[in-house]
């Protein structure tokens, strides 16, 4: 029977690899794979490894992180994970199987132990891949010691042990449940034991370890030396020893040390394996539930829910009253705002904006808060760029949802441009509102920081109006690009959104590059149109702020015309879009 399961796993793997290799005959997969491989090559192999600043060179002096500090930090992280598994986790004993595996294997004449072995074998593929990937990253940090191979082996031991411990802990929790120890009691029991352990260790530290003297805090090296002394003494060293055994191969500075440290690590790993394999716990029921939840999560992610969590929807009040007559695109906005949630409703957003601006004006009026204003101003600009990028991401989700319902939407008595405008409106309104608020924040902060508030307020206001005029059409164009990409290259976009692996990564890179090119082409005419009124007004009134406003008005008009043309053009494409031939099945 084990042979059948190994066959299933190996055949599935071979077919998956074969399918991926086979589709390289299609140019789009081949090009995307080459670009993805080039990205990996340049990211992992061509970049100089990080070894700290060169001696005597510029920058911060390198810190010699002690082995014990590194080991103990990693051990504490590991302990945190294990603590979570034993104290906080409420998950029942469940092994992650796919829905097909549940359907076929759970009714097959297969023992639990064989199923556990199958699960472990399956998880090894993921662990091996992760170990290689992580080692490519960690081996770049020369101060960690070792090389790519020792790091890969170290990662494998660590990840395998954590995987086995998670399964073993879930089995143990199930057993405790059978003995009448429900999660609340378990938390109280294990939490109490943990509190005692921490209190005991603290008490011991207070009695036996001297508080750091001034010399111990003289610099990074001294601080590390002090803490190494604390960690090396019992009982902390005893408590951390099992974690250290697991982690030492990863931190081994050379091959000799690695081989020396391998024995204890494999011993702990083997003990975990025996623990899991000998536990005879009924995991079937919880595993079925887990596989269902995982399938739902995957379906939710594929349908555009980036959180991948399918929580039951709750009723939401309407953002505004939708009358039965009027422009149809507003109905799309109304529907999508309900989906977005009450935080984005006009009234709530206006209240939030008023509150934020009130605080900003209060800060601006008080010279003591200049530093705070400077921090807010500095943070608002990158946040503004990030929000601008969020528009296309939101749009990709909307378009994906639209594509799923296209056979219904196509029967609506609407022109294509109405549907396109309707779908674009919500991300456009949401991003514009956020950008306007951020612009207002920056304007207030700039007015307060650059001089007398009253004298710079006018200039800030003009700048605010100018930038504010540019935002809606720019956001509209930015959200229109993913829409256009989906309508013109549906199979490309679908594969890039849903796929995984090197080719999907390559397709995303191609999409990002194309997106930037199209955006630059769209912004170029607006920039040219802005130049003429800017120079004329500057020559006439010799006031920079007014000239900039004139340029912004001209640019926003050009951008608005471009947006209208794009919506019209996409509407035509939408009307001709044949979902039976163009959507991937």
């Amino acid at each position: 029977m084990t042979g059948a399961l190994v066959y299933l796993q190996l055949t599935s793997l071979r077919n998956a690899v074969g399918q991926r290799v086979g589709r390289l005959r299609q140019p789009r997969y081949l090009i995307a794979t080459l670009i993805g491989l080039a990205y990996f090559y340049f990211f992992f192999f061509r970049r100089q490894p990080y070894r700290g600043a060169a001696p005597g060179g510029p920058g911060v002096a390198p810190v010699n992180f002690g082995l014990l500090i590194g080991l103990s930090t990693a051990a504490l992280l590991m302990a945190g994970r294990i603590l979570y598994l034993w104290v906080f986790s409420a998950e029942r004993a469940a092994l992650a199987f796919s829905e097909a595996e549940v359907a076929f294997l759970f009714q097959a004449p297969v023992s639990r132990r064989v199923l556990v072995h199958f699960k472990l074998l399956k998880s090894q593929l993921r662990i091996l891949f992760s170990a290689v990937l992580f080692s490519l990253i960690s081996a770049r940090f020369g101060f960690l010691g070792g090389n790519g191979w020792t790091h890969a082996a170290g990662w494998w031991i660590l990840l395998s042990t954590l995987e086995l411990h998670a399964i073993g802990a879930s089995f143990a929790r199930e057993r405790l449940l059978d003995f009448g120890l429900n999660p609340a009691r378990r938390r109280a029991l294990f939490g109490g034991a943990l509190a005692l352990l921490v209190a005991g260790t603290w008490w011991w530290l207070r009695r036996n370890v001297q508080a750091p003297a001034a010399a111990d805090l003289a610099g990074p090296e001294a601080i590390i030396h002090y803490f190494e002394g604390v960690l090396a003494a019992p009982p902390l060293s005893w408590l951390l020893a099992p974690f250290h055994w697991i982690l030492r191969p990863f931190f081994a500075p050379d091959l000799g040390a690695f081989l020396r440290d391998l024995g204890p690590a494999l011993l702990v790993l083997g003990a975990h394996y025996l623990w899991v394999i000998r536990a005879d716990v009924a995991f079937e029921e919880a595993s079925i539930e887990l596989s269902r939840r995982r399938a739902e999560r995957v379906a939710a992610m594929r349908s555009g829910d980036w959180r991948g969590q399918h929580r039951p929807a709750r009723r939401r009040r309407e953002p505004f009253s939708l009358r039965p007559r009027g422009p149809a695109p507003l109905a799309f906005l109304w529907r999508n705002l309900i989906s977005a949630g009450p935080w984005f409703y006009p009234r709530n957003w206006m209240l939030l904006s008023a509150g934020v601006l009130g605080v900003m004006i209060w800060l601006a009026a008080n010279p003591a808060y200049r530093t705070v204003l400077a921090v807010v101003q500095g943070a608002a600009v990158p946040v503004g760029f990030w929000v601008l990028i969020a528009g296309p991401i939101l749009m990709r989700r909307e378009v994906r949802l639209m594509m799923q319902r296209l056979d219904v939407i196509k029967t609506y008595p609407l022109r294509g441009w109405q549907v396109v405008l309707g779908e674009i409106l919500a991300p456009m309104v949401l991003i514009t509102a956020a950008e306007w608020l951020l612009l207002a924040v920056v304007a207030v902060a700039t007015a307060a920081l650059t001089g007398e508030f009253a004298s710079t307020a006018l200039r800030s206001s003009l700048g605010l109006i100018g930038a504010g005029l540019l935002v809606p059409p720019v956001v509209g164009l930015m959200t229109g690009i993913p829409f256009a990409a989906t309508l013109y290259f549906p199979t490309w976009i679908s594969a890039a959104n849903q796929g995984s692996g090197v080719d999907a990564m390559g397709q995303r890179l191609i999409f990002a590059g194309g997106y930037l090119v199209v955006l630059i082409v769209a912004l170029l005419p607006a920039a040219l149109a802005a130049a003429l009124p800017y120079f004329i007004v500057l020559w006439l009134v010799e006031t920079q702020a007014i000239a900039l406003l004139a340029g912004a008005v001209a640019a926003s008009l050009v951008l608005a015309a471009e947006l209208a043309a794009v919506i019209w053009w996409l509407g035509g494409r939408y009307e001709r879009f044949d979902l039976s031939t163009e959507l991937p099945q």
């Binding site: 929807a313 507003l330 309900i338 056979d407």
Partner: protein, 249 residues
């Protein structure tokens, strides 16, 4: 009325629907049947404007779907086999949304009797996630009928319904036909078609094998006076013996 003339849908080298012509008069319910891959769903999608035909014309109550798609779509309703609803819109909000798309000014007055008939009056504030599959199907029907369409397409309408839901669906289809709607109903359930349809259109490999009233089709393809539509179907599609019987080893 639905008028289809020389409809064809071709995918590369594959012809899904070939030179299909038929008419469905107001008050008629035409059952669209055929083996898997016969072109039923493609025909329904072309006739409802979901996908464009490669050739041919479709007229919905006299309006050409290709030249005036918006005008034609105002006259029709398409019910896919799977109810697809908006996660965050309640029953009432779904109706409000559809009313805006179709410009139904008095939708509240129209919606109430519809919801009463579908026994959904007490569920107006529920979200799709709180509805059973049958209820979701009912909501889709309420949305589709809100603008009083004259032409209706059903694609496997009984999928997932319980016995009460099946009966209600059949009653709804009969009532709509009585009120003058032209209906096309695609289903593999030949017994359903016998119960509900006045006419039948049999497709095979994208081509029309037969169309006409139920009695005409039965008469044409079976010598027996009490032959069922099933007998006629297998005779018409050239599969007289029906599907093979599978016996356990």
């Amino acid at each position: 009325m639905i008028e289809v003339h020389s409809l064809a849908k071709i995918y590369g080298e594959f012809t899904a629907v070939r030179d299909l012509s038929f008419t469905v008069q107001p008050g008629e319910v035409t059952g669209l049947v055929g083996p898997n891959g016969a072109g039923k769903t493609t025909t329904l999608r072309c006739c409802s404007g979901v996908i464009p035909p490669t050739r041919g014309t479709v007229r919905i109550r006299g309006i050409d779907l290709a030249t005036d798609p918006v005008g034609a779509k105002r006259q029709l309703a398409f019910f896919p086999d799977e109810p697809r609803l908006f996660e965050y819109l309640t029953v009432r909000q779904h109706l409000g949304f559809i009313a805006r798309l179709y410009g139904v000014a008095d939708y509240e007055a129209r919606a109430q009797p519809l919801l009463d008939e579908l026994e959904m009056s007490d569920k107006q504030d529920l979200l799709p996630g709180e509805l059973s599959r049958g209820m979701k199907q009912k909501l889709v029907i309420a949305c589709g009928l809100l603008h009083t369409p004259g032409v209706i397409f059903f694609d496997e309408p009984l999928t997932g319904l319980d016995p009460a839901g099946i009966r209600r669906m059949k009653d709804t289809m009969r009532r709509l036909a009585r009120e003058g709607a032209a209906i096309i109903l695609s289903s593999h359930l030949l017994s359903l078609l016998e119960e509900v349809c006045t006419h039948v259109l049999i497709l095979k490999q994208g081509e029309k094998i037969a169309d006409g009233s139920l009695a005409e089709v039965r008469r044409r393809f079976s010598e027996l006076p009490d032959a069922s539509l099933e007998d006629a179907f297998f005779k018409a599609t050239g599969d007289d013996h029906g599907p093979p019987v599978i016996t356990p080893p």
